[in-house]
Symmetry: C2
Subunit: 159 residues, 2 copies
């Protein structure tokens, strides 16, 4: 089955959101997705886009996507952060994920960034094996910290 | 000893870089800092600034800083990422770090973001204890992945 990869347009965001929700389900956090189609349309395609996105298509249907944006490292300067790389479950094994990954690495290479970064669940061994084979390094001694919604408000109110 | 906190200006970047290098040394990665004063000046104070920064001063000398920028979550929408929070070793214990942290949380709260995020070394227990006391959550099952400089180039050349 052959697929094509292209830059996402605003009209893709509904299908992109379906993929985001599919990934959240896989990560056992279905309820965590608060973003709407309108948010993605406004945030990704406004005057200052907050992210870039590639989509993979089979027969004009979106079956995968990679969403990424710029970050800043005080060691490396501007970097790229790959936020989500998703291929719908029924279309796995066709190297679509690998092709999307390559597009993002190429994007970062062409921009001249010294680092491309993302997060992986420590039990997702197939993903980790794939990343390491491409030359990426898993940093096992760094943990991510989040303060969210209510906790932010509670902290502000406690000051 | 009393300190003040203010937004950083371009002229602070030399002192800010000294703090960045001090932190890299603490994290046992002194050689990793490739960024220069000129990079920080251009990247933080150009037409589209790539980061924001607060500095803490005692007697007109910068003794701490918090550097952060916008990110994007496909679950939460726009977020803030706190890249570095540093207080010079000789001025610890004066609650400067805590005051810088509060400024960043306030910044995110005023922007209306649903998440503020950062990374911590898993052996840095005093930092983790502090963050958890403020309502933040350490995500122990997510690992960070990096592909950098040479590895990016090698991957591109292997395609």
């Amino acid at each position: 089955m052959s697929f094509t990869i292209r830059e996402a347009i605003k009209e893709d965001m509904s299908e992109v959101l379906s993929l985001i929700k599919e990934l959240a389900h896989f990560e056992k956090e279905t309820e965590a997705v608060e973003v709407t189609v309108e948010d993605l349309e406004n945030d990704g395609f406004g005057k200052i886009p907050l992210f870039n996105c590639f989509v993979a298509e089979i027969d004009s249907k979106i079956v995968g996507m990679a969403l990424f944006y710029s970050r800043y490292s005080t060691w490396k300067g501007p970097t790229i952060h790959l936020e989500d790389l998703i291929v719908t479950e029924k279309k796995r094994g066709l190297k679509i994920g690998s092709a999307l990954y390559t597009k993002v690495i190429e994007f970062g290479y062409n921009k001249g960034v010294r680092r491309i970064e993302w997060a992986v669940l420590d039990w997702n061994k197939p993903a980790i094996d794939f990343y390491e084979k491409t030359g990426a390094r898993v940093l096992r001694d760094w943990d991510t910290v989040h303060i969210e919604n209510e906790a932010i408000e509670n902290y502000i109110n406690s000051l």
